[in-house]
């Protein structure tokens, strides 16, 4: 490790070998997680693009209808219809699990209503107001769908980025440093072994020479 001194002992070497093994298997698993997240992401991407387009379409349609209603029935009629009491959309949030990530599942009670549920009188309003109402109800439904999809996408993207960073950190920093420490220790141990052998040889030679001296 660049940051700490490695003791060139055999037990350190064993420790490091164990750590390398563990880290490498963790690295493999993280890579799988990253790839799995990306696959999930691509599934959602298509949905996200579609729902975005649908929002724009629904919105344009709805604005057109309400403009017509304003023109034909007058803004006052439209406003009073809007202020009539009626069912309102309620949202229930549930969570589901994608690759270990918690993402929302949004449900609404039915936004779409029949004419008698809308609170404004049938007689005083024309079909244009009804059309506008239906168009906006559709828009709200689409928006709820979009909320679920876009939130899921954002969470997936954040998790992908985090996982990517961890994978890279392991691959380019942690594992190479561990392997460098491993080879450093192996080298030093080899050196010490050679030193020892050389020292033993010298001592044996000296002892041998002394024996020869005392013998003669």
């Amino acid at each position: 490790m660049a940051a700490r001194e490695v003791k060139p002992t055999r037990s350190e070497l064993l420790e490091i070998k164990k750590r390398i093994k563990l880290t490498k298997s963790g690295y493999k698993i993280l890579k799988m997680k990253r790839d799995g997240l990306i696959i999930e992401f691509f599934k959602i991407l298509e949905q996200a693009k579609e729902v975005r387009m649908k929002i724009t379409k629904d919105y344009e349609l709805a604005m057109g209808k309400i403009a017509t209603a304003n023109a034909v029935d007058g803004t006052i009629a439209v406003k009073s219809a809007a202020f009539a009491l009626r069912l309102h959309p309620e949202i229930t949030l549930r969570s589901k699990n994608i690759m270990g990530l918690v993402v929302p599942e949004i449900e609404t009670n039915s936004i779409k209503s029949t004419i008698d549920q809308r609170g404004y009188g049938v007689i005083g309003t024309s079909t244009h107001i009804d059309d506008a109402t239906a168009a906006f109800e559709s828009l709200v439904e689409t928006l709820v769908q979009a909320a679920e999809i876009e939130t899921t996408m954002k969470k997936l993207l954040d998790e992908i980025e985090k996982t990517k960073r961890r994978v890279n950190a392991l691959e380019y920093k942690v594992i190479p440093e561990l392997e460098a420490a491993e080879s450093f220790i192996e080298l030093r141990l080899e050196e010490m072994e050679r030193e020892n052998t050389f020292r033993l040889k010298r001592i044996k030679d000296k002892a041998g020479a002394r024996e020869v001296e005392t013998a003669s």
Partner: protein, 101 residues
């Protein structure tokens, strides 16, 4: 949790028609303050805004807005703006690129 909408009179009227109760009107200058206020309201599940009315909102608020979970802020009528940037940064490829770009 409820569905809420904030924007100009013309924008929000249609939503009121569709039965949305939490309707807030705000001019573009007032949008930033109103959005910040509504983001902190956890009784709101989804907040719809008009993409064209977000011009006076600063980059910090915009980032908070788009990253918020409860409520989720959905811009209507614009393009996929910040999602595109996030995708580029996380995946490395601009997946929203079409032949028109």
């Amino acid at each position: 949790m409820e569905f809420a909408v904030v924007g100009s009179e013309e924008f929000v009227l249609g939503f009121r028609l569709a039965g949305v109760r939490r309707v807030y009107t705000a001019q573009p200058e007032e949008m930033e303050a109103k959005v910040l206020e509504l983001i902190n309201d956890t009784s709101i599940g989804i907040l719809a805004v008009n993409a064209n009315e977000l011009t006076k909102i600063g980059p910090n608020t915009r980032r908070r807005m788009m990253g918020n979970i409860s409520p989720v802020v959905i811009p209507v009528g614009g393009e996929e703006g910040d999602l595109r940037e996030k995708v580029k940064s996380a995946i490395g490829v601009d997946l929203y690129k079409t032949e028109r770009d």
